[in-house]
Amino acid sequence: MAPPANRRPGHSRRAQYGLFLGYVVAVAGMIVAVLLLVIAIIDPRGFAAIKGAALDATTPASSGGRSIVGVLRGAGDGISNYFRAGSQNGRLQRELAAARRELVKAHAAQAENRRLLRLLHLGQTAQDEVTVARIVGSSFDSPRRFATLSAGRSSGVRIGQPVRSPDGLIGRVLETGQWAARVLLITDGASSVPVRSVRDGTPALAAGRGDGTIELRTLEVGANPFRRGDILVTSGIGGIFPPNIPVATVTGHDGDTAIARPLAEPARADFAIVQPVYQPAAGGSLDLAAPQPVAPPIVGPPAAAGPARATPANRQQDPRYQPALQQQPAAATPTQAPPQ
């Protein structure tokens, strides 16, 4: 039906002007909104103060509800565990046995790793935590994947810091308020984490897909090097995320790209650990970066030296000996992915 020719609400001038003014305000408001969006796209950190204050004001509500949801979910898990107790017991025992074997291997590798680092005079960059907080909410009604963290600037949380749980990487801090912070989860479409495969050290970029999975973009073109069950850890490239935080496990392929699922599930993580930026210079300007002392040239043993375990004890005591240089892939990946 065609619109009526006369849309006036009546003969009252006041009503007519009121209606007209309403449209003027609405259209002007839309123009302002577009400008705000343009500013947000050009400078995502604009309006940080306003958004931080809004975050502070709204977080207590989420924190309160979180404990209730936790109780309900715990009850659900308990009931389902009861019904699956038998099969679960067997599976857990098998997993425990496998884990014990892996643990012994990991201990050995860790000891060796420490020794090698000492030899290389590479003190590990401090990896202490900024704070431990709870994840209390998320942006469940938007295409973005954000989570709200119950700690903010007053606890030392700053924009850009990595956030992890004991299971693995969760994301990085995007906005901060005084008592709350917003975290960009690794499953968000704008998130990109440099990772490497534990099995063979293949580097890749883990980009979120927005639906809870992660896409692995390899740096080389051609056959996809990832297999199902491969575990990915952060590589430390880029300087924001510390190396060797577990990130995801490969679940399958979608065309040429490998799809992975994050190991840390923010909904189940009781605590989130905020860590300092691995190398703070990575976030600042180049002038602030302290010059790194150049390592002296390495005097290695003859190239015929075997792998580290076969090294005779007297050679292991030699401070100039660098087994890590003799067996690159194996030394870079001291642990192996569990067989599927």
């Binding site: 947000a40 942006s139 009604d141 973005r144 809870g212």
Partner: protein, 171 residues
């Protein structure tokens, strides 16, 4: 509740109800986004927007388009969208609804649902496009579960709004 007004206080109460029940209920729906659910994909509807269009479709006369502007600002701040997203999308929706109302002589419940479904799809598409401009490169199919659930939630929102409206009018 009696329809007869006994005192000035009753009158004031009645006026408050008439004016503020829609705004306050939509505001509360906006605050539902603070519920501590952390799903891995967008799944739950944008309750604020759902409530807003339900009120608008049921009672076209109570709000002008600029009301969507203010409520959109509140939604942006509470939900952590980029500032301006809900302001733009919600106000645009209201202007489109005004055009639709001018074209259609009447609407019934099924047409309301259809119009609401179109609005919900466009709203999700707009949010997705703004996320894309902000650097979040995700497939649009990610939004489909949320769109489906929102459309199915419209009758429930209508029930809630109708009962609130009955209270508002003092029935």
């Amino acid at each position: 509740m009696s329809r007869i007004i006994h005192s000035q206080a009753d009158l004031a109460m009645r006026d408050l109800r008439l004016r503020y029940i829609p705004v306050v209920s939509t505001g509360l729906a906006i605050f539902l986004t603070l519920l501590p659910f952390i799903p891995s994909a967008p799944l739950l509807p944008d309750f604020g927007f759902l409530m807003l269009i339900t009120w608008r479709l049921l009672r076209p006369e109570i709000w002008t388009a600029r009301m969507a502007l203010g409520l959109g600002l509140l939604s942006d701040l509470v939900a952590g969208h980029p500032l301006g997203q809900a302001m733009l999308l919600w106000t645009a929706t209201f202007l489109v609804f005004d055009l639709v109302d001018a074209r259609l002589g009447f609407r019934d419940y099924w047409m309301d649902w259809l119009i609401a479904a179109a609005a919900l799809i466009l709203h999700a598409a707009g949010a997705w496009y703004i996320a894309l401009m902000m650097g979040s490169d995700v497939d649009f199919r990610v939004m489909l579960p949320q769109i489906g659930l929102s459309i199915l939630a419209y009758p429930i929102a209508t029930q809630i709004v109708v009962s609130l409206d009955r209270r508002r009018l003092g029935g």
